[in-house]
Every structure is written in structure tokens, then in C-alpha cells.
């Protein structure tokens, strides 16, 4: 009882009856989830599964979810858009109410979410998993109009198709430039997997072409494995210009098709810019983001440390040692769902267990991974154990890990939206 009272008191900062209007009236508790991606889908599905009496509403702007995972394989030509496009019919069949609209306002005192279409949803607990927004203009010369010429393809969909089409239209002997961002950003291995996948396409179709990666960082995720794979598979084709070599891009020009780096100016035939990022807009609106644009959370419950009653999962949150990945979002959401159900029942939230695995495929049958287990500590989410695939592994291991990536995709899509 003590823990329960302390807990509710601490977490709500309000009278329990006021703060949990639906519970107080004996109605079913209401959980609203904003964002139907890896974090939001998983959170909605697990709250409903663990507490069938709860009324769970998932608010998602789009009718279909196009996954960033595997979108690099569409760009490289080994997968189709259809593979990465998913509907919300299955999660709806599990009893989650899916509302296709955009959340535009959050009133944490009244516990209400306002939708663009005018609807207002009450909640006892709110989950925000809006993913990222781009900081337009954060890189000089890169705004929404420039992105139609120099695609980011960092939210999958039409941008993915645009980048693929540009590569198909490029002449043999052309230069592809990838502008990688500073940390933190969505999918730390993503730009380097993409370079591998573009090389896979170019090697077959336009072998005289080259790829330049401009990067402000001096190191990046799975770096030695990427370099080894470029060397093995695409010798001489991919050049990485890191922070020490002047790889930081200060300006892009979409009319001249150039990037300006500390290293010098370079012209590209196809330029892929991964822009600076922050938590999706609704996180800023709800007041859960800090001055850098990301959301601090309680490592045990994923509840915002800034606004009570609101949990933030996925790319939008600051999750300590965990990278911004779909697997991280999924794991955070599952643990947040268990915490939310316990809180709604007036119980102590269970101890969480977080995990991440990110596979990268750089050629058909050539994959490797980074993985780790994490725990919640008072100082934040910490890694318990983990690591990357072995260097110089036999081809059968790379082949197996590529196959495992496909199994991971099946599994996570089932766990999030299936």
C-alpha cells in the first residue's frame, strides 16, 4: 500500500481521482499512443495484450507504415517497396483502436490529446513515439525544397523511391555523395549500410562510378566491419572522408549540386543528405523535449521526466547507451507497456530488460550485426553486454547474418504491428 500510494503520488503530482478520471469512475482505463511505428505499434499492442480491459487508441497520421529498416535494400535494388509497406489492419483486429489523424496538441493537466481533425482524446496514460523530425536549415542550404533534389530518404516512402530513381538515371562514372550527420541520429549504421547497398547496385550497373561519404564524425557504428566489407566487395569504389580529414559539411547547394566541406567543395551527380534531427514535433509541443530537441525519460518506466503521465519511447527519447533503432524502440515500448499497466493497476512497475540488435546488409548474402542487452540504472540505461560481429569471419557467417536479418524483420514486424 505504501509503495502504491507513494508511487501514485509521486508520479501524478495530483490527486489520484483527478488525474485518473476514467479509473475513478470505474470505467476502463484509457491509453493513447501517438505514432504507429516501431515504438508506438509495440506499445499499443502490448498494453492491450497485458490489460485487455484497457481502451487503447493508436493515433497515426498515415494509412500505411513504410519501414526505414530494409529501405536501403530497396535503394540497392534487392527489395521492393511492397516488402517494406505495412497496414494497420492486424493491430486493429487485436482490439487497438486505430485513428488515422495527426496529434497536434497535448494538455497534460487535463490529460487530453487534440487531433488535427478536431477530435479530443482523453487519456490516463499517454505514449509518444513520433520518431524524428528534420531540423530544416540546420545544415545551410538544406530545406524541404532541397530535399526534392538531394533526397534524405531518412523517412521511408516517396523519398526512398526518389533516391533509387536518381541512381537508376545516373550515368556510369558518376559520383554519389552521402552526407552523414553528427550524433545523435536515427540508425547510426544506416548511412554506411546505404553506401554498401548503393555500391552493390553500381558495381553491377555502373562500375565506373564512385561513392563519397562526407562525415563530421571520427568514428561510427560497426566501422571496422563496414571498411572490411567495402574492401572485400567494392575495392576502390567507396571513399569515407571523416571528421579528421575535413569531412564536416557546412553547406549544400541544390542548384549547383555541390557540397561544401572543410575538406573542399565537391560536385555530385546524386547527393543524399542525412540532415540533423530532433524528436518529432508533437514531443516539442507536449513539452517533453529538452533544449536540444530530445526527450529525457525515467529509465525504468520510460515516463517523461518533464511531464508526468506521458511516456516517450523510440527515436524521440534519450535512452542512454541504446542507439536510435527500430529494435530499441520496440524493446523500450514493450517495457513501457508493462510499466503503464502496472501503474494503472496501482502496482510497482516491473524491472525492465532492454535489448537492441541491428543488422546491416551490404551485399546480397553479406550481413553483420551489433547487439546488446541493457538495464535501467539510476544514472540511465546502461549496457550489460554486447558487441559487433567478428572481423574476418568466414563467408558462411556473413551469409547467415544476412538471413538472420530477414528473420529479425519478420519478427519485429509481427511484434510491432502484427
Amino acid at each position: 500500500m505504501t509503495t502504491r500510494r507513494t508511487f501514485l503520488g509521486a508520479s501524478l503530482g495530483l490527486g489520484a481521482t483527478l488525474a485518473l478520471p476514467n479509473l475513478a469512475r470505474g470505467a476502463s482505463p484509457k491509453v493513447v499512443v501517438v505514432g504507429g511505428g516501431f515504438g508506438g505499434g509495440t506499445a499499443a499492442r502490448y498494453v492491450k495484450m497485458l490489460m485487455p480491459a484497457a481502451e487503447v487508441t493508436l493515433v497515426e497520421r498515415d494509412k500505411q507504415f513504410v519501414t526505414c529498416p530494409f529501405s536501403n535494400y530497396v535503394i540497392g535494388g534487392i527489395e521492393k517497396m511492397q516488402t517494406i509497406t505495412h497496414g494497420y489492419d492486424k493491430i486493429a483486429k487485436r482490439g487497438v483502436k486505430v485513428v488515422h489523424d495527426e496529434a497536434v496538441g497535448v494538455d497534460p493537466a487535463a490529460r487530453k490529446v487534440t487531433l488535427k481533425g478536431g477530435r479530443v482524446l482523453d487519456y490516463d496514460r499517454l505514449v509518444l513515439s513520433p520518431g524524428i523530425d528534420f531540423v530544416w536549415g540546420g545544415l545551410e542550404g538544406y530545406d524541404e525544397a532541397a530535399a526534392e533534389i538531394m533526397p534524405h530518404a531518412w523517412k521511408a516512402g516517396p523519398q526512398t523511391v526518389l533516391l533509387r530513381k536518381q541512381l537508376e538515371a545516373m550515368r556510369d562514372g558518376g559520383t554519389v555523395i552521402i552526407v552523414a550527420p553528427a550524433n545523435p541520429f536515427r540508425c547510426p549504421p544506416g548511412p554506411y549500410e546505404r553506401a554498401g547497398m548503393i555500391a552493390w547496385y553500381l558495381k553491377k550497373s555502373k562500375p565506373k562510378s564512385k561513392i563519397l561519404i562526407f562525415d563530421p564524425k571520427e568514428t561510427f557504428s560497426k566501422q571496422a566491419l563496414f571498411f572490411e566489407s567495402y574492401e572485400n566487395l567494392y575495392p576502390g569504389m567507396i571513399q569515407w572522408i571523416g571528421g579528421k580529414q575535413g569531412g564536416k559539411v557546412t553547406k549544400v547547394d541544390s542548384k549547383k549540386m555541390t557540397v561544401e566541406a572543410e575538406f573542399g567543395e565537391e560536385k555530385g551527380d546524386v547527393i543524399n543528405v542525412v540532415p540533423p534531427q530532433r524528436a518529432g514535433r508533437i514531443a516539442q509541443v507536449a513539452g517533453v523535449a529538452d533544449e536540444k530537441g530530445w526527450c529525457p525519460i525515467d529509465p525504468k518506466t520510460m515516463e517523461s521526466t518533464k511531464v508526468k503521465g506521458v511516456h516517450v519511447v523510440g527515436d524521440a527519447c534519450i535512452a542512454g547507451a541504446m542507439p536510435k533503432s527500430g529494435t530499441s524502440a520496440n524493446s523500450q515500448a514493450r517495457n513501457a507497456a508493462a510499466a503503464i499497466v502496472a501503474m494503472l493497476q496501482g502496482k510497482e512497475p516491473p524491472e525492465p530488460s532492454y535489448a537492441n540488435t541491428c543488422y546491416s546488409i551490404v551485399a546480397e548474402g553479406y550481413g553483420f550485426s551489433v547487439t546488446a542487452m541493457y538495464s535501467a540504472t539510476p544514472e540511465g540505461i546502461k549496457e550489460i553486454a554486447g558487441g559487433v560481429s567478428k572481423l574476418k569471419a568466414p563467408p558462411k557467417d556473413r551469409d547467415l547474418e544476412a538471413a538472420y536479418a530477414y528473420d529479425w524483420y519478420r519478427g519485429i514486424m509481427y511484434d510491432a504491428l502484427g
Partner: protein, 101 residues
């Protein structure tokens, strides 16, 4: 229930061994940990092709595999890295959890 008890026993023993009166360190239940596993290993509905299914996996074999991966006696592409996160007690609890699925 059975699995949770194993986790608890493990924690209690560890505390006793150090002779501490402090509260047992918090540990996730086997079920909480196991929910991470199914992302790659799947329930059968997910349709995995290569990665072994864990439902009804024989407990003794799982203990042998996981401790082997952890202690570097068994080769693996990825499980050797993950298994290092778990104590003997947690591995036993996970094995008991999956054996009864």
C-alpha cells in the same frame, strides 16, 4: 511462477554470499527478458526461417547452449555476444520459461 522463483533464489543467494543486509538488487523476470528474444526468434506466427524457435525448447539444451555461448565454448555469429549478459540463474529461468511455452 516457477521461473520467477528461480530468479529470486539466485538473487537471494548472491546477497547472502556477500553477507549484505541491503535489499536484493532488482532483476527483471524471465518473462520480461524473454520478450526481447522473440523479436528475432519469433513466435511461430512470425514465420522465421533460419533462426531457431524457442517455444518448447528443451531446457537442458538451452542451458547448455547459452552457457556455452557465454563462456566461449560454443561458436556463434551473435548469441555469444548476447549470452554474456546473463547469470547462470537467469539462463536457468529463461530455459524454464521457454520449455513451458
Amino acid at each position: 511462477m516457477c521461473t520467477q522463483r528461480i530468479v529470486l533464489v539466485g538473487t537471494v543467494l548472491a546477497t547472502a554470499a556477500f553477507g549484505l543486509a541491503a535489499p536484493a538488487p532488482a532483476a527483471p523476470t524471465a518473462e520480461t527478458i524473454a520478450r526481447n528474444c522473440v523479436v528475432c526468434h519469433g513466435p511461430k506466427e512470425a514465420g522465421q526461417l533460419e533462426i531457431p524457435k524457442l517455444a518448447d525448447y528443451p531446457a537442458r539444451k538451452m542451458i547448455e547452449m547459452m552457457t556455452g555461448f557465454r563462456d566461449g565454448q560454443k561458436e556463434a555469429t551473435i548469441m555469444n555476444r548476447i549470452a554474456k549478459a546473463f547469470s547462470d540463474e537467469q539462463i536457468a529461468a529463461l530455459a524454464a520459461y521457454f520449455a513451458n511455452r
